[in-house]
């Protein structure tokens, strides 16, 4: 019988496909030519041709965030690989399951500064959960399985596989591949603890039962653990107000009576006041980072804290806590909920609802110009929490968090930890690919949009009905705001008066582009544009000097919050 052979490049695609990967974002180049050759007639995977590797990484990231699946991106060696770095770092900071696969120069050229050689494994050590340089084709099936497993289990995160060109071209017998693929992965040092410690859970239950002013802080961990129902049950059973982090938006419906919205630097007054008065904080899948805790020692200073997270290294990294529980939120919350009987916290809940009522998100409307907040407020009346919204980073990102409702998990896609400008558009593209039936809106600023708008080409090429809502204030708004508030309005390199003509940009990419400048234009046209079946770029020319308020200055706590009523 004639022997059948399989190449390294085919092993890569076949293994990924068997692991459930059917979508890849990538960019070809010299060191991945064999992989792209294999893709040419590999029908089980759709490849989306990015226009820059950073775009490919964010697209895979947005795909992962919106679908909960592992996102995969390809790039060539050298600059192709280093262009992925920002995207990998973004996924790392927000614990997104991402597989980056890079071509590498041939093994015989490694270390010789060959054309387009870069030590991408060395470069990405600090920003990946695990990474691999493949040295033998026989290791390839195991490495792919292992990397995929590591990416989506425990605390998810990005992994990278660097695949030299000669290994892509090498062949083994098909039968041997089949045997290698069935071999178990070996991850002796990787045993995520999913089950919380029963004694710690018991202690947490006792505290929850006793608390008079409990507060839940829900982070992205709730969404990753698919524990939204359990969170809701806990909050409703024990009548506990819920605030979320930026990436926790969607874990608990904003419209819920007990929802206080987002907390932190630009969080709601109610949420931040609640942290100052709570006697028990139940922190779920969040990490007390500086945009939330400001001054960690004084954050929730009256409260005992129960901190539940799957990553033991998050426990007491930023804030000492009374009851740490290491485990998967879904299971731990189930165990806690089982032991609780309904009760009311009327006084405390009424107090928080009072704050919510007294300090709604407000802003001063300008008589002439559109305010960025009113654009989003109007958008919210149209979509009512029924869209996937991605953002870039800066003022518009905070306004999205403040003025849009999020009612479902995996609908708020934002670079929270890394704060990556240029994330919004490619993330929306990835999300639309992964969830073609949903309305996907990229809310971007005029600064960040320019960092990755070459990816618009994918919207045209793949006929993706993504809506781009461009809030054009002709400034790098958030930096301008800091210069305004803390540096005597010394506006240093933030002015974007010299911008491209965004209508022509849209036109150049073959996408319908509309500019809205007035209140009546907004009210007359936005709904139609958002509900259109076609992709649209909606440029809203908005007031340049609007500030995001309220604000807790960096390093401070809620008692230093300014702009509680939308003005300073």
């Amino acid at each position: 019988m004639e022997k059948k052979w399989i190449k390294g490049s085919e092993i890569l695609l076949e293994s990924l496909s068997r692991l459930g990967v059917d979508t890849i974002f990538g960019y070809p180049g010299g060191s991945v030519i064999p992989i792209y050759d294999a893709l040419y007639d590999f029908k089980k995977i759709s490849h989306y041709f990015a226009r820059h590797e950073q775009g490919a990484a964010h697209e895979a990231d947005g795909y992962a965030r919106a679908t909960g699946k592992v996102g995969v991106c390809f790039a060539t060696s050298g600059p192709g690989a280093t262009n992925l770095v920002t995207g990998i770092m973004t996924a790392h900071m927000d614990s997104v399951p991402l597989m980056a696969i890079t071509g590498q120069v041939g093994s015989n050229l490694l270390g010789k500064d060959a054309f387009q050689e870069s030590d991408i494994v060395g470069i990405t050590i600090p920003i990946t959960k695990m990474n691999y340089l493949v040295k033998d084709i026989k290791e390839l099936p195991r490495i792919i399985k292992e990397a995929h497993f590591v990416a989506h289990t425990g605390r998810p995160g990005p992994v990278l596989i660097d695949l030299p060109k000669d290994i892509q071209l090498a062949e083994i017998e098909l039968a041997e591949f089949e045997k290698l693929f069935t071999e178990d992965i070996q991850l002796e040092g990787y045993v995520p603890n999913y089950k919380g410690h029963p004694n710690q859970i018991k202690k947490a239950i006792d505290l929850i039962k006793k608390a008079e002013k409990p507060l839940i802080i829900a982070g992205a961990g709730i969404i990753k653990s698919k524990a939204c129902a359990e969170l809701k049950e806990l909050a409703q059973t024990m009548d506990i107000p819920v605030t979320t982090t930026l990436l926790g938006l969607g874990s608990f419906p904003s419209s819920h009576r007990l929802s206080l919205g987002m907390l932190g630097m630009h969080g709601t007054v109610g949420a931040n006041f609640a942290t100052q008065e709570a006697d028990l904080v139940i922190a779920l899948g969040m990490r007390f980072d500086d945009r939330i805790a400001g001054d960690p020692e004084n954050f929730c200073h009256l409260a005992q804290i129960i901190h539940i997270d799957i990553d033991p290294a998050e426990i007491e990294k930023n804030r000492m806590v009374e009851i740490p529980i290491v485990g998967d939120l879904k299971g731990v919350l189930k165990a806690i909920n089982k032991k609780l009987t309904p009760r009311k916290n009327t006084d405390w809940v009424e107090k928080t609802l009072g704050w919510k009522k007294e300090y709604p998100m407000v802003y001063v409307k300008s008589s002439e110009k559109l305010m960025p907040q009113e654009v989003l407020e109007h958008l919210d009346t149209i979509v009512q929490g029924q869209a996937i919204v991605s953002t870039d980073v800066g003022q518009h990102q905070m306004w999205v968090a403040q003025f849009l409702q999020f009612t479902k998990p995996n609908t708020m896609l934002s670079s929270g930890g890394a704060g990556t400008m240029g994330f919004g558009l490619p993330a929306a593209i990835g999300a639309q690919v992964g969830r073609p039936e949903e309305l996907v809106i990229a809310v971007v600023g005029d600064g960040g949009f320019q960092m990755t708008y070459q990816e618009l080409m994918l919207i045209k090429q793949y006929q993706l009905p993504v809506k781009v809502l461009l809030l054009n204030n002709s400034y790098l708004g958030m930096v301008r705001q800091w210069q305004d508030l803390f540096l005597d309005k010394r506006y240093s390199s933030v002015n974007l008066d010299i911008n491209p003509d965004f209508e022509k940009i849209g036109e150049a990419y073959g996408i319908k582009t509309v500019t809205l400048k007035t209140r009546s234009e907004l009210e007359d046209q936005l709904e139609g544009l958002i509900k259109s079946k076609e992709p649209v770029i909606i440029q809203c020319v908005v007031e340049g000097e609007a500030n995001v308020l309220p604000m807790i200055p960096a390093g401070k706590c809620a008692n230093h919050m300014i702009g509680l009523r939308g003005v300073i």
Partner: protein, 161 residues
């Protein structure tokens, strides 16, 4: 600042030491000394790092290191119940007048002379940090030419690791 020895056992894969040290750098931990070598299990490396920091920092170090996928064990040695040893090669200037004196001092420290030349002596010394420091102090008057240290090796007393 207190000093601690951390034991790390990891799969001996390409770049594992770089991976571990990169993490120490990223988190701002100061590694004073390091030893690395094989263990009784094939394919595993044993590292002993001597680091400086407070107890809270130490707790973080332990957890962060354990997050490295190929690390299978991390342990901070307690101050008691642990054998600690370091090895040192020291080369000092030695003339016909000083040679005997140096050899006598080395004998007191149970050092052994590994190399003699007309103008130098190279001595091997094993012990805890204090002992090595004491010997170095004694040699200063003879002009030290070179010192090489292994870093601290540590092992718990008794059967358990």
């Amino acid at each position: 600042m207190d000093q601690y020895e951390i034991l790390i056992i990891a799969k001996n894969k390409d770049g594992i030491i770089g991976r571990i040290l990169s993490l120490f750098n990223k988190r701002g931990y100061f590694v004073r000394k390091m030893t690395a070598g094989a263990t009784n299990r094939a394919g595993y490396a044993r590292l002993t790092l001597t680091v400086e920091g407070d107890e809270l920092t130490l707790e973080q170090i332990q957890k962060q290191v354990y997050k490295i996928i190929d690390v299978v064990k991390v342990k901070i040695f307690p101050s008691k119940g642990v054998i600690r040893r370091e090895m040192m090669l020291i080369k000092v200037k030695a003339s016909n007048e000083t040679r005997t004196q140096i050899i006598q001092i080395a004998d007191i420290y149970r050092g052994s002379v590994l190399d003699v030349s007309s103008s130098s002596l190279t001595i091997l010394l094993t012990g805890d940090e204090k002992k090595l420091d004491g010997f170095v102090e004694m040699m200063k008057s003879y002009e030290i030419l070179e010192i090489a240290k292994t870093g601290i090796l540590a092992m718990s007393r008794g059967e358990k690791m």
